[in-house]
Subunit: 216 residues, 2 copies
DNA sequence: GCCCAGCCTTGATCAGTGTCAATGCGCCGG
DNA sequence: CCGGCGCATTGACACTGATCAAGGCTGGGC
């Protein structure tokens, strides 16, 4: 690690993720398949090449919380400790690059670059998790769903957006039940803020109205 | 707020945090005083020497969420981006070591050690934030308060524990209202799980009973 | 094209938590 | 010692979101 990359997001070359190149192996996973398990040894980390992934954690009585959703070029499985604290599962079919941490030593300068990348991604993940805390702690069901849809929609730049997850996953991410998510989606649609075409495709019809629901 | 003189520490570096030694300045803050502000430039980071600190974030309409509480030897103000995304405030009187990130360059090898320390702390913070997400997303008011008290109590190893924050801060950390926190505290006491001596001091009377409320 | 399974939506009701308001308690200054 | 202020507690009630229970849609296989 070179000294002092304290603001990793500022030091932004074109595609830092490319440093990972073809290290490790590529694997494909089918819908719902587990990529790694909660409490499993964390000697690998993963890069999403194609598709979408959720990380989930179960309480002992079965309540489920989704940590986050990940898309192409996101890194997952970075851990401070020796084990994975969430499990990761493919949402649909997806392709994943699997990298053994200990293998990085073999890559010299390149390995150093990658370490820096990992640190930057960890810091970014912290930011995202802090946003998630705001969402869960202080937003109403309606605001939660609106925030979520707006987040997804941003990835599609005005095109029709496609949800890679079902209502249960949305609920477990937002700290709601599936019924409440469904009701809020219906409500946002009734109010003309979004329009659904089937239950996984939607478009934002009133971006400013939606943004009003999403306090920052 | 008063800048203190830099005094060399006598302790030999054993804890990794000691790498920070006496770099930077020490300052004291009085109860409620702001250490840094939300959206302020993040060119410093901070180490709690004595006392306790909260980080908070406000939504535009005034709803408040507390990110976390920090105690002696915790680092705060580490950010991925260029600005602080939460503000930090002293809970009681506290002493803080303030370190300018750019100053680390001057410390060569020591600077590299510190950079590693910062990375480790960021990863640890991510873990803590993920626990916070579980708490907010999937726990009842009663479980939230029980988790919180148990967490605090652990820092006092069976002794009478002292809450460094008031009910409002607990509420804003747990995503509840002050009234609900108060009711849950009363309920836990009625059930004989904890006993309060004044509203900021308590002891755990039935650790296993309390632990049962805190699913993992 | 039809059927079926799985997911999604909707409705009715309920529990938990928030809100509003009043009261209590403890600490500090005078 | 007393009074007042700020925080905490308690109570009554409202409301959000959960729960339970039907249906409805949709997409894939035959």
């Amino acid at each position: 690690m070179t000294a002092l990359s304290l603001s990793p997001s500022l030091a932004a070359p074109q595609h830092p993720i490319d440093a990972l190149g073809h290290i490790g192996v590529r694997m494909t996973f089918s819908p719902g398949e587990e990529i790694y398990a909660q409490d499993e040894d964390a000697d690998m980390f993963y890069r999403v090449i194609r598709g979408a992934v959720r990380t989930t954690r179960l309480l002992s009585d079965g309540r489920r919380q989704i940590g986050d959703f990940y898309y192409a070029d996101d890194l997952i499985g970075l851990e401070a400790g020796p084990v994975h604290r969430f499990s990761a599962e493919a949402l649909g079919c997806c392709e994943i690059q699997v990298i053994r941490k200990s293998a990085l030593k073999l890559y010299g300068d390149e390995g150093v670059k990658i370490e820096r990348l990992i640190w930057a991604e960890t810091a970014r993940e912290l930011q995202r998790t802090q946003e998630h805390v705001m969402l869960l702690g202080r937003k109403s069901a309606c605001e939660k769903v609106a925030s979520f849809l707006l987040d997804i929609a941003r990835r599609f730049r005005g095109e029709v957006a496609e949800l890679p997850m079902g209502r249960q996953d949305m609920a477990d991410y937002l700290g709601l039940t599936i019924e409440t998510v469904s009701r809020m989606v219906t409500q946002l649609q009734t109010e003309g803020l979004v329009r659904f075409l089937g239950c996984r495709r939607f478009e934002v019809r009133n971006a400013t109205g939606l943004a009003c629901l999403v306090e920052t």
